[in-house]
Assembly symmetry: C3
Homo-oligomer: 254 residues x 3
């Protein structure tokens, strides 16, 4: 996996194209680390992508074949690798943009679902392929999918493991948009540019408020929102945002 920082953007690239960028335990761990180490002082956004021709084909099935472990080892392995990667993506206060340059299957799809924004090429192949090897969706996909595409579609995708393409992924809300291959970089640059002009700490708090309130009742949600808003009111970002607005200029947050 390559991790490159450039002008406030951390780009993380799955780089095992000969196996369609399949994720093994090492890749999942490196992904978790690379996301965890990004921070809103140094970074405006994280971009996840893959070396052509795939984004990621998901878990390494050969490794599944060779695995010998008991239930507890299995639980701990997942908790420390794939689930940790999902947790870091959901928890990161640096926004995460998936640039889905090609096929996106299983855990690869789950990583996209756990990202905050996602852009794809129309003919990339997607599948919740877990069911095809007798597994349940993991890497947070059982949590994220119904909230992205609705319960009806989430069940169809995960119970059948059927294939669909990037255009369909956009239509159902799994990704923000499907754009032609030669416009994908530009689309991602544009959203990353937009995020760069926002106060990253506040972007992170916005994401936190939304994620935490996905399972709160509305009374608790109002209270949680308010507790975060207090932190925002006390922030330099708020002061600068208000000053800039009243002075009719762009805010300077960095």
């Amino acid at each position: 996996m390559r991790v490159e920082d450039d002008d406030g953007v951390r780009t993380i690239t799955f780089d095992r194209p000969n196996v369609m960028n399949a994720m093994n335990l090492e890749v999942a761990t490196e992904l978790a680390d690379a996301v965890a180490e990004a921070d809103p002082v140094d970074h405006d956004a994280i971009v996840l992508t893959g070396d052509d021709p795939a984004f990621s084909a998901g878990g390494d099935i050969q490794a599944m074949k060779e695995r010998e472990e008991g239930p507890r080892e299995s639980y701990e392995r997942v908790a420390e690798t794939f689930n940790r990667a999902a947790a870091e993506l959901l928890n990161s206060d640096v926004p995460v943009v998936a640039k889905v340059n090609g096929d996106c299957v299983g855990a690869g799809l789950a990583i996209v679902a756990a990202s905050d924004m996602a852009y794809t090429v129309p003919d990339a192949t997607f599948s919740c392929a877990f069911i095809r090897v007798g597994l349940v969706p993991d890497t947070a996909a059982t949590f994220t999918l119904p909230r992205l595409v609705g319960l009806r579609t989430a069940k169809r995708l995960t119970m059948t493991g059927e294939f669909f393409d990037g255009a369909e992924a956009a239509e159902m809300g799994l990704v923000n948009e499907a754009v032609p291959e030669d416009e994908l970089d530009e689309a991602v640059d544009e959203i990353v540019g937009k995020l760069s002009r926002r106060p990253t700490r506040t972007v992170g708090m916005t994401k936190q408020a939304i994620h935490e309130n996905l399972d709160n009742d509305w009374r608790k949600a109002l209270d949680y929102e308010n507790m975060l808003q207090v932190q925002a009111y006390m922030s330099e970002e708020h002061e600068e945002g208000v000053d800039a607005f009243l002075e009719g200029r762009n805010p300077d947050w960095d």
Copy 2:
């Protein structure tokens, strides 16, 4: 109600066409029983449908007129009949496909909403008619609808009780698809065929993971997903799925 098993598919048919297949307490109880008795060893899917011309007109309003009961009797009656039917549908590890051959109103609509997949004819009439007789949506509809069609549409449908057709039901995500009447059997056969080629126990665990994680926060959801995945990793279905994948053949799960 007719219950027929054929080649791993349990078909449950509402068969009171003279009253538009309205559901009384007996029908709800029989439905609950017929779903509860299906199991993933013997069954690949459950299909729910109605004798023409309706799917189900919902609750029996004449029976509501004749009912005399106190609050506790009322609570227990619903818990043991309509709510039990909803619970068995949501809980079944055999996937449930609704074949909506005609009008689908009130509790009939709720049964469709609680099914995992649903196909309808474009001109079937749908309505959350509960409000028209001074009732709140039941048979799990207050839980399922916002997660299928979004909060905005769920409120409109349930607060107004307005009529809409199968084409609109598909557009809003209440059903998977609306297909012409002479293609409905084929559409349902196709999805049932697809489900038959998947490992049913794992399909059931996938459904369980998604349903349980609808109200879990993301940390607990990751943990719940992992605990189910451990069961999947230890299963014969996983072993066969991996072997088949690596050998380039179709898995043999039955």
Copy 3:
């Protein structure tokens, strides 16, 4: 703020058009009061709208500049004003219809999101502008938005603060429909008329069931639904609804 009652409809109008109907603490408090004082015996619906040219530009940014307070004062101020307005909207058993006559930004957008129905003109400008002044979305928007427009779109709108128009708001599910300016009154009158022909107490219980079950697991949701249904079964509205149905006439609920 103007509050007018006419033929069972309470119309609440933001009336500071010279500041684009921005909401200060007084406006939020008056809104909360006006909603709290509506009741299902006297009212069939609440309509929220603004004096042209805006619906509401959201919070008063000049006031933010002048504010000097500690974290606890900030928390209490929000709890007693904007959050109270959101809570009254979510809690009201009289259905709330937003008539979005013009621009709808920040807290204005959150008020629309907390309303039960919403109609807009196609060229009204919308924005979750909170991020532009270093704040998280408030007035319940972190709770309502993902449930209205899905998680993917909710993140995009709140993290970027991007502008979108009424037509897009309708497409994503933030409002029910975008209609030409000269048809907006008619569209709102039509839905209000429809709501007027429903039993308001039961409409309120339907809303309550849906809101409370947004964060219940399915077992608890079934039980909550049943406990509300018991209240509905014992109501005059149910008795009249059943009688009217069986007699083939329109129910008389008022």
